[in-house]
């Protein structure tokens, strides 16, 4: 009796020893900053960032009174929904394509990784120059194709800014999404396709009744991670929208930054309150999504 118990206790200590670094990491990179964020959201700071005492929930109340909040929330909903849905749909097609054997497949797979590997700021800057009214190549191309009569100020015209930003968002979301779905496709055992073929199922029927249901776990992962990434995405909106005054095209993430440093509010406490709201909101969004796709049913 004594032997095993001692052994078990030793394992407990050992386990802690091995877990220690990652626990410390979680404590340091997740728990501590989260606690700091919450603390900051309950505090008042001067323009310079100097702590001026605790104000309870007053920052949250002030946040709700911000005029721009409605616009910013609406922007965020459009931004996240459109990018995630379109990126998923396009990636389903791309993944299917990349799953097939064809000459040059390796090259195409590599090419798809590039927008993912490039820094978001660089990609965004590149698109700024593509979209530019005077120097960009988009207008001349569209005009010579006869799509446009007049050049469009893609990043300055209120009706096109969001679309222009979303396009970049989709572009940079495709690689990751496609690769998750591709991995999902390759995890499907070949014999189920064989069985379908033996049963004489058409290609579309096979996809609908075999491939797609088996792809759902991968789809779920891709959707949840994309919702989080896209919601938290800062560089695209920041870079493409930097010429526009006001908050008309901001998402909650860039709005948070502007509250803290770039608007006349210049208020770290208020920004921290929005930061807390953002975290809660993204948790809620993911939960609602998981509910709607019946996460538990999937598990079972």
């Amino acid at each position: 009796m004594r032997g095993p118990r001692r052994a078990r206790r030793a394992t407990g200590w050992q386990a802690l020893l091995w877990l220690g670094p990652s626990l410390a990491l979680i404590g340091g990179v997740v728990a501590y900053p989260a606690a700091q964020l919450i603390r900051a959201s309950l505090s008042q700071y001067s323009v310079t960032g100097l702590y001026q005492g605790s104000v309870g929930l007053r920052n949250y109340a002030r946040l709700l009174r911000q005029e721009a909040l409605t616009t910013v929330v609406a922007n965020t909903v459009v931004w996240v929904t459109v990018i995630v849905v379109v990126a998923l749909l396009m990636s389903l097609g791309l993944a299917q394509f990349l799953d097939k054997r064809f000459p040059g497949r390796r090259l195409v797979r590599w090419a798809l990784i590039v927008p993912w590997a490039a820094s978001l700021i660089m990609t965004s800057k590149l698109f700024v120059w593509i979209y530019d009214y005077y120097f960009g190549i988009l207008n001349p191309v569209l005009q010579s194709l006869g799509v446009l009569d007049h050049p469009v100020d893609w990043l300055g015209d209120d009706s096109t800014v969001m679309g222009a930003m979303i396009t970049v968002g989709i572009f940079v979301s495709l690689p990751f999404t496609t690769y998750v779905l591709l991995a999902g496709l390759q995890a499907i055992p070949p014999d189920v396709f064989e069985a379908a073929r033996v049963d004489g199922a058409s290609a579309w029927r096979t996809y609908r009744l075999v491939t797609f249901p088996l792809l759902r776990p991968a789809l779920l992962v891709a959707a949840v991670l994309n919702i989080i990434y896209v919601f938290n995405s800062f560089p695209i909106v920041w870079t493409l929208n930097d010429r526009n005054p006001g908050f008309g095209h901001d998402t909650m993430i860039t709005y948070m930054y502007k509250i803290a440093f770039k608007s006349s509010l210049r208020d770290v406490g208020l920004a921290a309150a929005l930061g807390v709201v953002n975290v809660l909101l993204i948790l809620l969004a993911v939960l609602v999504y998981l509910r709607s796709v019946r996460w538990h049913a999937q598990e079972a």
């Binding site: 964020l37 960032g49 009214y133 005054p245 006001g246 440093f261 608007s263 006349s264 509010l265």
Partner: protein, 427 residues
């Protein structure tokens, strides 16, 4: 950004927790340091110096060498950080929020820091000789409640740049002196067609307050009257309406001037030879000279008020109050303000002097002459008012909206005025 910042904060405890022995050692060391700090007699052994990045080629090399010289002379180490303008506000705020302010900071504002009681005044960290060498305008521009807290580090002045070739082709003999002449000149250049732009007007968030200031002053308006903000005065409304008309009625500006930034918008267009006129400053001249593509001239601003007024911009050095750093900071500032040292840097960066000795040294340079000539009629934005730091951001984020089609100049100015008054009331 909060994530980014908190990520940085998070790094420290990770290391501490993982390396328990190191934690103990550092805790002891920290206690000793605190003990040292508490002792008023003890002096610091290193100072943190945060400098804004004016140019890739000159800023870091200059301050690096200065820091090394300083360390050699005093034995005090320098933790030099050269920070990009885009992120400097954020970084400084974070430093102060975490109670780790720099010892010496270079920024374009100072009064909020003075108001929060974070700064040494000139009397505490500067010799009388150094202080007296500052040009009077810039001393005034660095004072908060009668004391000098924002030490001028360099200055610049706006001037009116025009593309000689385009103006000649449009039949405009001389750069316009009045607003009427200006509108006519812009119309003629715009009429050249092929995407030619009369005047590039940047009222996007980057530097809208500068562009606005110059037009406002040249119509006889101002930010404040005495102690009161008067952003929505009739004069100013007239000015903003004039700018809106340039864009929407006369159509002599680039597309969407309210959504055009200065550096990658208006300046870029001028450097590309597409623009007849733009409001520039000496670093733009440097770039134009280097590229050699545009045949440009520099003139006084067109005015609607008789005398041409331009904007001078003063950037600051500040010394933060930290235990035991007074002597170290004093020596650092004295080293920078050596006449040959400060002039060497200002010349390299293409800016203008802030000291009498520097003015004497730079007067001979013909390139700098038009700006130096403009300095006597130059005005500063009200950086000495602590509310300015908020007003500036408010103008940057809003004034562009007024010149968009369907924009409402009066509404925008009224809102700016309300916010300025509220900010001045202190919150």
């Amino acid at each position: 950004m909060c994530h980014r910042r908190n990520g940085k904060e998070g790094d420290i405890p990770v290391r501490r927790l993982r390396l328990t022995p190191l934690l103990l050692v550092s805790a002891v060391a920290a206690l000793l340091l605190i003990a040292c700090d508490r002792n008023p007699g003890a002096n610091v052994t290193s100072i943190k110096v945060v400098i804004a990045d004016y140019s890739r080629d000159h800023t870091r090399p200059f301050w690096q060498i200065l820091s090394e010289t300083y360390t050699k002379q005093t034995g005090v180490k320098v933790d030099l950080q050269v920070v990009d303008w885009n992120s400097i506000d954020q970084q400084i705020t974070t430093m102060i929020q975490n109670n780790q302010p720099p010892d010496v900071l270079n920024l374009n504002s100072f009064s909020s820091y003075a108001k929060d009681g974070l700064l040494h005044s000139a009397d505490q960290v500067m010799s009388v000789k150094t202080k007296d060498d500052f040009l009077a305008t810039f001393t005034r521009g660095g004072e908060y409640q009668g004391k000098l807290y924002g030490f001028p580090i360099l200055s610049s002045a706006r001037a009116f740049f025009y593309n000689k070739d385009l103006l000649a082709r449009a039949g405009v003999g001389a750069p316009p002196k009045t607003w009427d002449e200006f509108v006519r000149a812009a119309q003629r250049v715009q009429a050249l067609g092929k995407g030619t732009i009369g005047y590039a007007l940047p009222l996007g968030p980057e530097e809208a307050q500068a562009e606005w200031s110059v037009w406002m002053w040249n119509n006889g308006g101002d930010w404040k009257s005495g102690d009161r903000w008067m952003i929505n005065s009739d004069k100013n409304l007239q000015t903003l309406q004039f700018l809106s008309d340039l864009a929407n009625k006369h159509k002599v500006t680039q597309v969407n001037p309210g959504k055009t930034n200065r550096t990658d918008g208006a300046f870029q267009l001028f450097k590309d030879g597409k623009v007849g006129m733009v409001m520039g400053f000496s670093p733009l001249a440097k770039q134009l000279d280097a590229e050699g593509k545009v045949n440009y001239g520099v003139a006084e601003m067109p005015t609607n008020a008789g005398t041409a007024v331009t904007l001078a911009v003063e950037d600051y050095l500040m010394a933060f109050k930290k235990p035991g750093n007074q002597e170290a900071v004093t020596k650092f500032l004295e080293l920078y303000y050596q006449p040959e040292t400060i002039t060497r840097w200002i010349t390299a960066e293409g800016f203008l002097p802030v000291t009498k000795s520097g003015l004497d040294r730079m007067r001979a340079d013909p390139k700098v002459k038009p700006y130096l000539d403009a300095l006597p009629n130059a005005k500063l934005v009200p950086t000495t008012d602590a509310a300015w730091d908020k007003v500036k951001l408010d103008v940057q984020q809003n004034i562009g909206l007024a010149v968009q089609p369907g924009g409402n100049p009066k509404q925008v100015l009224d809102q700016l005025q309300r916010n300025a008054t509220a900010a001045a009331g202190g919150r």
